[in-house]
Amino acid sequence: MIRSQVLICGGTGCTSSGSKAVREAFESEIVKQDLAEEVKIVPTGCFGLCEKGPVVIVYPEGTFYSHVQAEDVAEIVEEHLLKGRIVQRLVYDEVDEDEVTLTEEIKNEVRQISLNETAFYKAQKRVALRNCGVINPESIDEYIAMDGYAALGKVLTEMTPEDVIKCISDSGLRGRGGGGFPTGRKWSFTAANKADQKYVVCNADEGDPGAFMDRSVLEGDPHCVLEAMAICGYATGASEGYIYVRAEYPIAVKRLQIAIEQAKEYGLLGENIFDSGFNFDIHIRLGAGAFVCGEETALMTSIEGNRGEPRPRPPYPAVKGLFAKPTTENNVETFANVPQIILRGADWFASMGTERSKGTKVFALGGKITNTGLVEIPMGTTLREVIEDIGGGIPNGKKFKAAQTGGPSGGCIPASLIDTPIDYDNLIEMGCMMGSGGLIVMDEDNCMVDIAKFFLDFTVDESCGKCAPCRIGTMRMKEILEKITSGNGTLEDIDKLEELAMHVKENSLCGLGQTAPNPVLATLKFFREEYIAHVVDKKCPAGVCKALLNYSIDPEKCKGCTKCARNCPVGAISGKVKEPHVIDTTKCIKCGACIDNCNFGAVVKG
């Protein structure tokens, strides 16, 4: 009889911090302690708190162990699983150790609060990620236990295709991959077109730097995507589906393959599903990682076996999509919401979020934030709640400066707008976009001109080259930014940059080029003074752009300890012992080694 279950995260984050070794250690320790009949090891998808990985949760207590290493496992098995004593030193701890007013007893009580009570999880509402970190993604039975495939059953036995589309439309679900197009309307367009063959395509070509929610869903709950695609097929009259997933996501691909096989074996994919006469089959296509293939027409061109380039719209995919047949394309996270909407109703979903953005959104928190990881929050949550409460704030006492949403297609939200509720329309109004949900947090040490240059570097690399505005325009923009960051820019360059950005935005063929100028436009809008400081004062206020930096030593503070001189890799620092040192700026490569090594704060950057 299984009395205890040990859930070990097998997501990509924890796998790279060593969860596989932890799992193997648990398996052997449990046999050693003769607990194999009583304790079950369950590999799961991502829990979301990747910062604390490898993550292990022991039920029924719900004890949340963080940073577990293989060496810790023997102790957990002996102490917790055998003797019932929670290993406090490994428990994820939100208690501030300096809080002297708390007695040890209360501290222990706080430590044992269930996982769902921690600040990281408390404000979250998990719909798309509901099974991630809860079930074994390689077991269709566990998915079924969590009401899996019940939505498909309901759709095929009780609802007409029109009912399904109405339910999705009424729920207010909008595409989670970037543009935010209403999903129900998208489905109705395909449904309205008559054809001998239609397709459903799942866009799992997650390309934004820093976004990994689709990966997490595919790794943690692959069956929910399959179920949703079949539902979409029924609603739109399609009998075949394609999942276009990056080859760089090997765990996701493997689990999808297992899931498709299991679903076929159970007759949940294939012919005559639930004896309804409905047939649906799903194929996987691996992408080679080109950013442009996340654009729907380029993605379909790539599935067809051609070079991944976008094509002009119209005709839209709903009319002439994959293999020139009517096609519905949705992103992974969009699909992940569908079964829940069918089971719990459109009203339930529409009760979450804001007026025009319903439900929840998953964000990948990254950058200068304490808790990096995946969070799913109701639409309309403010950026402040995400960063300060869920994200645990900015590390090292630094000040929040801005957050980048939508990756290279999005823009930044400055600190002054931190209380804006996050939804599709508010973000667009600010010149940002939801994008796929990457949320990169920046502090006072980030230079906004440098950030704009970073994202433009990315789009220049990823531009497919088909249309001139994107191919040439983004390159020229990047050159202007390089001129500015190297200290050779003029005020006129800033105006030129802005004008060029508008041209690229308006004239590019596809979403990649149309959104590529967004990081530049947003930083110009909110941080224009930083651009001006670069060209007029020839200074980088954040101290990032190397060409504009000069290192010097404050003779008042320098004790002459020689540590900086000993650590300088190019021998640019000279001086006698116990006398103030000097930096030779002609030799200095501005690496910052002297600042890191000075114990007296005598090295000045600026």
Binding site: E38, Y59, P60, G84, I144, A145, Y266, F274
Partner: protein, 123 residues
């Protein structure tokens, strides 16, 4: 899979296996599993609770868990039953057989098995 009934059958069969992870039990049964408890035979007691609770179909209502030393080693194996709004019940000198009885009478029937409680043992 040809019918919703087949799907429901798999779901019901599997439900008891994943319900442990939801931890929404209204009643919490805690078995003292420190060295003294284990030496006195707490493991068969813990396993009996886990098994009988599942057999009785109480998995969604009752969470069976373990804890360290409760502090009354002479009475081990000790089992405590916590229920919201009710006073904690402490059973002492438990065995697998007594555990089965507690599941049947107390957890299912709602009646405390007074002869195994600590108050009876002390007096």
């Amino acid at each position: 899979m040809k019918s919703l009934e087949e799907l429901a059958a798999i779901r019901d069969k599997m439900k008891s296996k994943v319900v442990l992870r939801e931890g929404t039990g209204e009643i919490r049964v805690v078995v003292g599993m420190a060295t003294c408890g284990i030496a006195a035979g707490a493991r068969p007691v813990l396993n009996a609770f886990a098994e009988k609770v599942s057999e009785a179909g109480l998995s969604e209502k009752v969470t069976v868990s373990q804890t360290g030393c409760i502090g009354i080693c002479q009475y081990e194996p000790v089992v405590e039953v916590f229920e919201a709004g009710k006073e904690k019940v402490t059973y002492v000198k438990m065995t697998a057989e007594k555990a089965a009885e507690v599941v049947e009478k107390h957890l299912k029937g709602g009646e405390v098995v007074t002869e195994y409680t600590i108050s009876t043992a002390v007096s």
